[in-house]
């Protein structure tokens, strides 16, 4: 929500519009306001989807409870209220305020399929696995793409460059879920190289969550296939981006000057070329995070990896509305927060963008 500028506006009214303008031009504040607005927008969208669409889930549930289970309307409405964290008897606007207030307290309602289990608890149980696998996959793709992209730029038009370019385009064009299916079909089944059945789930049965080598090994074993999928399908884009970015950086005057000063080529590559070439990639990082998190929604069911994507897949298939709207909101919040972090990181790395007037 645009909470911050509005609050500030009340404070700043007697100071005139320019204070407001200066606050708005502040990079950090603008970013935070936008992030809050995004979360607000998504929660509002969810509310109206649930409430206003014909045959809305709330009405369907009430009808089901009164019709099939012989509940009185009163009881059914109460049940619906606790499940959706929405009171269907109140006027729409009050329902909306109520819903937002519940959200603030972290009350997302209860799962329809397992009544009594709060949605928040389910999310907290599964989200860490997804963040772990998606984060590691993204990191590997980014690091690998940066190194290989630089190699491609330095060895431009060599056989290696052409080979890597083709590989990058190929990985780039295959969507992650099809890649996942192919991994299972070829490596798991046809060649029998991977113990697909054992790799399902997030941990082997009996393995406790603890800080030990055995736990980390087991977690990595189960997450390996999703991580490799995220890493390889993401790698191509980073390689191609880093290549063009490095080629641009190689032509900069400061690189020529560094060469003229006789600096060792290795030092130039890392400190002069690499550091500058990597900057534009950070803006792509923000887009990529949302993309890869969305991808987990397809990749996790394929490998039967029980993270938030798998849970969402199940929730969608069984139309468990409170759970799926909670997960949807949670995924949006995670993406918004990581975007914010990436933006802040970027503004630390490249002070030029903090200047007002150059927003995006």
């Amino acid at each position: 929500m645009v909470a911050i500028p509005q609050e500030r506006s009340a404070l700043a009214r007697f100071n005139g519009r320019d204070v407001l303008g200066r606050l708005w031009s502040h990079f950090l504040l603008r970013r935070i306001a936008k992030a809050l607005f995004t979360v607000f927008f998504v929660s509002t969208l969810i509310f109206f989807l649930v409430r206003l669409l014909p045959g809305s889930p709330v009405e369907v549930l009430i009808a089901q409870l009164t019709g099939e289970y012989g509940y009185s309307y009163e009881m059914a409405a109460n049940q619906a209220r606790s499940l959706f964290a929405i009171d269907p008897n109140q006027p729409l606007f009050l329902q909306y305020i109520d819903y937002l207030r519940n959200l603030m307290r972290g009350d997302l309602g209860q799962s329809l399929l397992s009544p009594g289990v709060p949605v928040t608890a389910i999310i907290l149980k599964y989200l860490p696995w997804t963040l772990f696998s998606v984060g590691l996959g993204l990191l590997l793709a980014f690091a690998g793409g940066v190194v290989l992209g630089m190699v491609m730029a330095y060895r431009r038009n060599s056989a290696l460059d052409h080979l890597l370019s083709i590989a990058a385009s190929l990985f780039y064009s295959v969507p992650s879920y099809l890649f996942g299916i192919m991994v299972i079909v070829f490596f798991g089944i046809r060649m029998g190289l991977l113990p697909i059945a054992d790799m399902r789930g997030t941990l082997s049965s009996g393995q406790q969550v603890e800080l030990s080598v055995a736990f980390i090994k087991d977690a990595l074993f189960h997450a390996a296939l999703p991580i490799v999928t995220y890493a390889l399908t993401g790698l191509g884009a980073w390689m191609l981006l880093m290549k063009s970015s490095t080629i641009a950086a190689l032509e900069e005057d400061f690189v020529t000057a560094a060469r003229a000063r006789g600096l060792p080529e290795r030092r130039i590559a890392i400190l002069y070329v690499g550091r500058n070439a990597i900057l534009p990639l950070f803006t792509q990082l923000t887009i990529s995070i949302g993309f890869i998190v969305g991808g987990s929604f397809l990749v996790e069911p394929i490998f039967q990896y029980q993270g938030i994507g798998y849970t969402l897949f199940k929730a969608i298939q069984s139309r468990d509305y409170p759970l799926l709207q909670g997960i949807f909101l949670m995924i949006t919040i995670s993406v918004v927060v990581t975007n914010l972090i990436a933006d802040l990181l970027y503004s630390r790395l490249d002070p030029r963008i903090r200047r007002p007037g150059r927003s995006d």
Binding site: K34, F37, T38, F41, V42, L49, V50, L53, P57, S173, V174, P175, Y177, L178, I181, M182, I184, V185, G188, I189, R190, I196, I287, G290, F291, V293, G294, G295, F297, L298, I302, L312, F313, I316, Q317, R319, Y321, L324, Q325, F328, I331, T332, V335, V336, N339
Partner: protein, 317 residues
């Protein structure tokens, strides 16, 4: 006869305000030089072998979409003696979990994939072009508002948004399916269109139209849009690849009623029937995947060729 066609074309141009490809050719520089896009196109494809191949592949899929359902039989014959059979003369691509011919399913599935893809791409293109161009021309609060909403929708993971949205709607018609895909896929295109219009806005002929006070509608439909038709066409092709992936995803999740023929449905069945875990079902699972990849690859290559055809400067680089 020629006279009537010309008039009708002219009328259409008036009615739709230059948002179609046909009308743009009247204003394109190539046409004014007496060379039609057709000739440019043919001449170009002689040099661009990959692009030509992509057009041929795409043309083949269009042919399947148009005539496939007429050439194959509707009834699926369940043949339990032929489960997951390997390719043979009777079954070019083998059979599936119930002995149905896979090749027939691929052929029959082409139409719905293409129709929904094209419809969704058309819807999101129309929305993105009108809204993007208007907001760029108008500027001010409208522009900031549109941009803000666009950014917000862009932040939400596309696939998750699509999946969640689809649970609230009963997707029993191709139009609804296309609509829901379009509803989540317009933002990227809108940003692209807006950026393009912002740069076109500063050109002399737009300035001139503004000085003459010809009105926003005139400037938008007669000056700005006809000059970015090529750009819109390319983005339409790209939007179509997105829409095709989108519908495959919706089918894969089982969010679309499981009837009819569609490649996504084939993958969904292969997945739920456990076909991906069988050693002899390779043809069943890989056929739709290869078909999707081929179609997508041809579209991506076509968009690249179009870019080079419309923008000759790229050819030298």
């Amino acid at each position: 006869m020629a006279q009537t066609t010309a008039t009708r074309g002219g009328e259409r141009r008036e009615a739709e305000g230059g948002s179609t490809v046909a009308s743009a050719s009247h204003r394109s520089p190539a046409a004014s030089r007496g060379v039609g896009w057709g000739q440019v196109f043919v001449r170009f494809l002689r040099h661009d072998k990959i692009g030509a191949a992509a057009f041929v592949v795409f043309g083949f899929f269009v042919f399947l979409a148009l005539f496939g359902p007429l050439l194959t039989s509707t009834d699926k014959v369940t043949d339990l003696s032929q489960l997951y059979s390997q390719p043979s003369r009777d079954h070019i691509l083998g059979t599936d979990y119930a002995g149905h011919d896979i090749f027939t399913q691929i052929v029959r599935g082409t139409r719905s994939v293409m129709v929904v893809g094209a419809l969704a791409a058309a819807m999101s293109t129309v929305l993105a072009v009108t809204l993007g161009a208007l907001s760029a021309l108008a500027g001010g609060p409208l522009d900031s508002g549109v941009l803000l909403i666009t950014d917000v929708v862009l932040t939400i993971p596309y696939i998750v948004f699509l999946g969640v949205l689809a649970t609230f709607v009963k997707l029993d018609s191709p139009i609804l399916l296309a609509l829901i895909i379009a509803a989540v896929s317009w933002p990227t295109l809108l940003r692209a269109v807006r950026a393009q219009v912002l740069s076109l806005k500063e050109r002399e002929y737009v300035e001139a139209a503004r000085v003459l006070d010809l009105g926003t509608a005139h400037i938008l439909f007669r000056e700005v849009l006809p000059n970015m038709t090529s750009y819109i066409v390319i983005n339409f092709v790209i939007a179509m690849t997105g829409a095709i992936y989108g519908q495959i995803i919706l089918y894969f999740f089982g969010l679309v009623p499981l009837s009819g023929d569609n490649w996504g449905l084939m993958i969904q069945f292969a997945f739920t029937k456990g076909a991906i875990y069988f050693t002899n079902s390779l043809w069943y699972i890989m056929s739709p995947i290869v078909a999707i990849c081929l179609l997508q690859l041809s579209l991506v290559l076509i968009s690249r060729s179009l870019e080079e055809i419309f923008n000759p400067r790229l050819r030298e680089g």
